[in-house]
Symmetry: C2
């Protein structure tokens, strides 16, 4: 974030805070694996949902080596946006309604990991981020699987973070209006893990599923 860009876009018209410190940016990226990657295909934007993970000052995502998405992501600048919705904000007038959110945007030219060991390590880190300790318990990745998978990376050099708080900010004359105002907190909840059809008996639900957090 040596050259933080001026905020280019706005989720809310008002009340938001540009949060430009690196710790805030990292915290948002670490909290929400879901990312929307914007890239150019035939000159038009295409927005692809995928999972991102951060290691140090870079984010990573992966895809099929043969996919159009991967080719497009390498051919021109991309924008990776991560959004956490924390609640709905209800004001006394319609246009002051908003979303309580944390979001991050990362811009730049993506690069592809080419060294097989670096790729494998990045994929291990993705799993470690989601389900710590699971990687070592899995059927090992084959060379063919690794070859068929592209791992893309983007530095956090040009990135911004924004946080929108939950409190409605009505104009001074509005709070007397007789309507309920406030916010409705929202968060991602997990249900009970569902075993795969035909799962061998005696395999306990791993502890990391209990600790899983999203957002």
């Amino acid at each position: 974030m040596s050259k933080p860009p001026a905020p280019r876009t706005r989720l809310r018209r008002m009340h938001e805070k540009a949060a430009c410190d690196r710790g805030t940016l990292h915290a948002i990226l670490d909290a929400m694996p879901l990312a929307h990657v914007g890239h150019l295909v035939d000159g038009a934007p295409v927005v692809t949902p995928t999972l991102q993970w951060r290691t140090g000052d870079r984010i990573y995502w992966h895809g099929s080596s043969a996919s159009r998405m991967v080719k497009a992501a390498l051919a021109a600048e991309v924008c990776v946006t991560v959004s956490c919705v924390d609640g709905m904000v209800l004001a006394r007038s319609g246009l002051e309604h908003s979303v309580a959110f944390r979001s991050a945007m990362v811009f730049g030219r993506a690069t592809m990991l080419t060294d097989p060991e670096a790729k494998a390590e990045a994929l291990r880190q993705m799993m470690e981020r989601l389900f710590p300790g699971r990687w070592e318990s899995l059927r090992p990745m084959t060379a063919q699987e690794l070859k068929a998978t592209a791992v893309l990376s983007l530095p956090l050099d040009e990135a911004s973070a924004k946080i929108g708080g939950p409190e409605p900010e009505d104009p001074p004359e509005d709070p007397a209006w007789p309507v309920w105002a406030g916010h409705l907190p929202m968060a991602t909840a997990t249900g009970a893990p569902v075993p795969a059809a035909g799962l061998a008996p005696g395999l306990a639900v791993p502890d990391y599923l209990t600790r899983f957090r999203w957002g």
Copy 2:
């Protein structure tokens, strides 16, 4: 969807179903207000989180009339992507892990509503989608607020929907591997509504907050 495009992008490498019927598309758009709009700014993609709502065969979103996002969205083709994450899918090998999801992508040239009555009606429908009945209880929108708000719209002519199921689809030799496999269901939960600071006493929490659904 008279000309459904070939799927341009993939959230999962395998196992997904292109769901091209209009009912599925509508259901995804209606379930998830959060959208990520991809547009071009200085020739590069920018992905902006915002809320969308559907009326008939169009989706709508809004922003500040003065915003760069609105200008960019009108100047070239956009891509609006809506993603619902329904769970994490844990397979016996790392690269078969995936996300249970429903997603929709809408492509095209956005238009801006210019008729004030049509704009106001669209904004009322947005509120109706989120909090049915609330619009009529609010401090009425002013002409200035309406003027400062741009409402954009995109037809569903070029759109696609995809659904990824929750069952891991390991290669035939993998299910014997001794690791827990299955899926972790995920959904958005709401907490207890929090009144705004200084909310006048005697204003009950509206019923629509109890019925609020997201995803």
